[in-house]
């Protein structure tokens, strides 16, 4: 127990040093913050502009898309900030230059060190913009609120964070074996977030089946959104589908920890 508090304290200190470091160059931080925020706003802004002409995407109006978009962006931004230390390209770089070996040698909890190694504050830009878009969606849509729907909102958010966090850990583990092909992980992380910002019914079967049966991202946002917005399910899944998000997230995260531990056991330093 004392050990755990010690690890948490270490994590807190590492993060605070990290954040202070990022705030040293104020102008640059401000630009960075604006840039990250702008990506979200502009990406959604262009969908909104396009929908002036096209009206809806796969039967989803602009505010319904805003719900998907805002939730996905806020959750991914939060995950990306907390799990920055596991961000595959960043972590892969640490493995390559050998600074991961230094972490292994320190008498401090490894996970606390990795979490503490990077905390990208500018992601706040993405989180804030994402939440604004989500809030706009929630106020503009005429949602028939029930106790279940209200509870679902935070659960969906946390599940998304855990799900993508798990994917980051799996990607980081891959760097024990290969640095070069790490970009493939982007397919599932950045690709996954971009994909769930639109209704899943618009994708070809091969993509949708992959994200239903192999990496079940479809249950994290699309199905909860169908339920919350009272939209009919065009894919005919069992009625339980909207409530699977936390279970899918836990399963992926558990799998990530198993893979991580396996990778760590076989980890051999690059030696350089």
């Amino acid at each position: 127990m004392a050990n755990m508090w010690y690890s948490i304290d270490i994590y807190r200190r590492l993060i605070s040093v990290n954040i202070r470091g990022q705030l040293q160059y104020r102008v640059s931080f401000l630009f960075d913050f604006l840039a990250t925020a702008l990506i979200t706003v502009l990406a959604f802004g262009s969908v909104a502009l396009i929908l002036q002409r096209f009206n809806n995407i796969g039967g989803w109006t602009v505010f319904e898309i805003a719900f998907l978009f805002g939730m996905a962006e806020t959750a991914f931004g939060t995950m990306d900030m907390i799990f920055s230390g596991f961000d595959p390209p960043y972590f892969g770089q640490r493995v390559r230059i050998g600074s991961f070996d230094q972490m292994l040698l320190r008498p401090v909890n490894l996970i606390a060190q990795i979490f503490g190694s990077q905390f990208i504050l500018r992601r706040l830009g993405r989180i804030i913009q994402g939440s604004i878009i989500l809030l706009i969606a929630l106020t503009q849509l005429d949602i028939q609120w029930t106790a279940i729907k209200i509870t679902m909102i935070p659960i969906v958010f946390v599940s998304l964070v855990i799900f993508f966090g798990g994917l980051f850990i799996i990607g980081a583990t891959l760097s024990f074996w290969t640095i070069e092909s790490l970009e493939v992980v982007n397919l599932f992380t950045y690709g996954g977030t971009e994909m769930i910002q639109y209704p899943m019914s618009i994708y070809p079967d091969i993509i949708r089946n992959f994200f239903t049966f192999i990496l079940p991202a479809i249950f994290l946002l699309y199905y909860p959104a169908l339920y919350i917005l009272d939209k009919p399910d065009p894919l005919g899944m069992p009625a339980i589908a909207p409530f699977l998000a936390p279970f899918v997230a836990m399963a992926v995260f558990t799998l990530a920890i198993v893979i991580w531990n396996y990778g760590l056991r076989f980890y051999q330093s690059t030696g350089s």
């Binding site: 970009e183 639109y198 618009i202």
Partner: protein, 263 residues
């Protein structure tokens, strides 16, 4: 000229060495292309043509945009900036070559390798998996390649100019990211510009960005020809000259401020 050629060749070979990375990048580009295509197809609502584009054109558009990301490198390029921060800039400046040309030479090699590995390959994959549009005549192919090369020159001079911010501030990354996001948004990368409301398109055409991706797409798909095509090419040349001029002025001012720390 000899030096230029050698630098390009080195940069070209450097790109060829990362084979696994290229494959991974290709898979990612192709996947994102499929997502984009799905969204566009959903937008068509079964219509056969919108704003002069057919569904086949729209699918081809996603292939073209994914295929030009690496070639134009429009959205992230921090090499000049990094060389200022590592101090490599001091020895680069001593080389018997104009600093702009020094980087242009390397970008030529990089762009050509990216064109072969991440542009041509994507289009071939698209041609295998989907029904795509191709230019209908030899002159159209020629116009396409010309517009493509000019688009790359716009992209390069813009990237170079943005990177020069490093001469003024010890951490110009944020400024550069902001600049690249602007080009990402206004180049017609997210959706074809002709799908947007006219006021927005007008706004974009006040910047050089539509003359990169959007121009390449429109010429390839045969959406512009004759006078409009000549207009695009002239505008591209004008933007290139303006951006190079701005780069030269910024570079001269920047070099005067540059301090290299020994060590």
């Amino acid at each position: 000229m000899r030096l230029f050629w050698e630098l390009s060749k080195l940069a070209f070979q450097r790109q060829l060495t990362y084979r696994a990375a290229t494959l991974a990048g290709l898979a990612t580009n192709f996947f994102f292309g499929m997502l984009r295509a799905s969204v566009l197809i959903a937008l068509f609502h079964g219509n056969s043509e919108i704003a002069g584009m057919t569904i086949t054109d729209a699918i081809t558009y996603t292939g073209l945009t994914q295929g030009t990301i690496a070639f134009l490198s429009l959205f992230s390029w921090f090499e000049v900036m990094n060389s200022v921060y590592t101090g490599a800039v001091s020895s680069d400046m001593l080389k018997p070559m104009n600093y702009f040309n020094f980087w242009l030479a390397q970008d030529t090699g990089r762009a050509f390798a990216s064109f072969l590995l991440r542009g041509l390959t994507i289009m071939i994959a698209y041609a295998i998996f989907f029904d795509i549009t191709t230019p209908q005549s030899m002159p159209q192919w020629l116009a396409f390649f010309m517009v493509l090369i000019l688009a790359w020159l716009i992209s390069f001079s813009w990237r170079f100019l943005v990177n020069l911010a490093a001469f003024w501030t010890p951490n110009a990354l944020g400024i550069a990211r902001l600049a690249f996001i602007l080009s990402w948004y206004m180049s017609g990368f997210l959706f074809p510009l002709r799908f947007f409301p006219p006021w927005f398109v007008k706004l974009c055409y006040l910047t050089p960005f539509p003359y990169t991706i959007n121009a390449v797409v429109e010429v390839y798909l045969g959406l512009v020809d004759g006078q409009a095509l000549v207009g695009i090419i002239l505008a591209q040349v004008a933007w290139i000259l303006m951006l190079i001029l701005a780069s030269m002025i910024a570079l001269r001012a920047g070099v005067r401020r540059l301090e290299i720390l020994g060590g």
